[in-house]
Symmetry: C2
């Protein structure tokens, strides 16, 4: 299995613009990438960061893993499909491919092992709101379409190519960080660089009525 981590290097996490400056959004996105890459490295699998632009500086992961960086500035679905085509069919050796989004700030080695070890032609991890946070593809003809409710599209695409579909039930992997309301999940359950960075930026758990939120102190 080879693990691919797509990463939007330029102006990332725009839906967090209301609570974070562009520099802070870049720092959070980079910290999430390093947390995800570290969790993958701890599983022992080789991974590739599929980045829209060259990364600034060396990637800091713990443990060091076999991690390479490939730059592809095409849209997400096209870039991921090129990897799937190359590795699953074409010149590939047929080794399975896993694709794990770079903003799964709660990912742990155990949760990722649960995904990687689940059998199935296509193994999906849904994200909140119909997204696809991660998957494993073992079928040569599976391709992605991340537009809209990609979870439903990926089930449909798998069906069209005759691939059986499994899903993985993991809160850690189903939680991606896109919107301000997601930040509190990182404060509550994160284990890596990102909760520390959020605390450094002034965020804390805000226990008002209903679901708690991350709030930021006034400077």
């Amino acid at each position: 299995m080879h693990v691919v981590v797509p990463f939007a290097a330029t102006d990332p996490k725009t839906r967090l613009s209301g609570v974070l400056t562009p520099e802070e959004r870049s720092a959070i996105a980079r910290a999430m990438l390093e947390d995800v890459a570290s969790a993958i490295a701890a599983t022992g699998y080789e991974s590739t960061i599929l980045s829209t632009a060259p990364l600034s500086g060396d990637l800091d992961t713990d443990p060091d893993g076999p991690i390479s960086v490939t730059v592809d500035d095409r849209p997400l679905s096209i870039a991921v499909n090129a990897v799937l085509e190359s590795r699953l069919a074409g010149d590939g050796d047929g080794d399975p491919v896993a694709v794990v989004m770079a903003d799964l700030a709660l990912a742990t080695p155990i949760a990722l092992e649960g995904l990687f070890s689940t059998p199935g032609d296509v193994v999906l991890v849904p994200g909140r709101g119909g997204g696809t946070n991660a998957f494993v593809a073992r079928h040569p003809d599976f391709r992605v379409d991340y537009h809209g409710a990609s979870y439903l599209d990926h089930r449909r695409i798998a069906g069209e190519v005759g691939a059986d579909v499994e899903t993985v039930d993991s809160y850690r992997l189903s939680t991606d960080v896109d919107e301000p309301e997601d930040l509190v999940e990182v404060l509550l359950h994160g284990t890596g660089r990102v909760p520390t960075l959020l605390y450094d930026l002034g965020f804390s758990v805000d226990e008002r009525e209903g679901r708690v939120r991350a709030s930021r102190r006034e400077e």
Copy 2:
């Protein structure tokens, strides 16, 4: 193990008031209760519905399970703590108690089995926003406090009584239905009465940009 399902029978799910009438909210809450009770019954464990008022009509579950209804109109934490005290200490036989919220509309027998079979003095399932969607208690002194970020409080309380804490990583059990944005999760991943009821009420998956939502057609 005995499973307790707290249920707010009167004016439930007020945070859904913007999209559902009081009668519809009651119907959704009842359907969720029956889905949760059915999933528990399928695990083979005995359960008690801990309701704030008598249920109207017979509870419809599949399979029929050993399910009783107890009415306790006190606040949630007090009512649950009375059960914990009675069953874990006091006159109880020391058999573990599981508490599963009635609004876990994505709960399946497999997900619940995963919770029930996880060892630990206290086994917590966090909900989004710092809640506690379900837990198993095997320690005689563990008590609940559902106010605020109960997940953090429950970790603290467990520590204070010397109980070791485990958590269960399940998207299905970490998803409760409180707010309109939660409804799309039921449409996408639900397997019981509730998605059918939502479709009947005019809801469907709305694939606009970003996370998809449940939208309701105009009458």
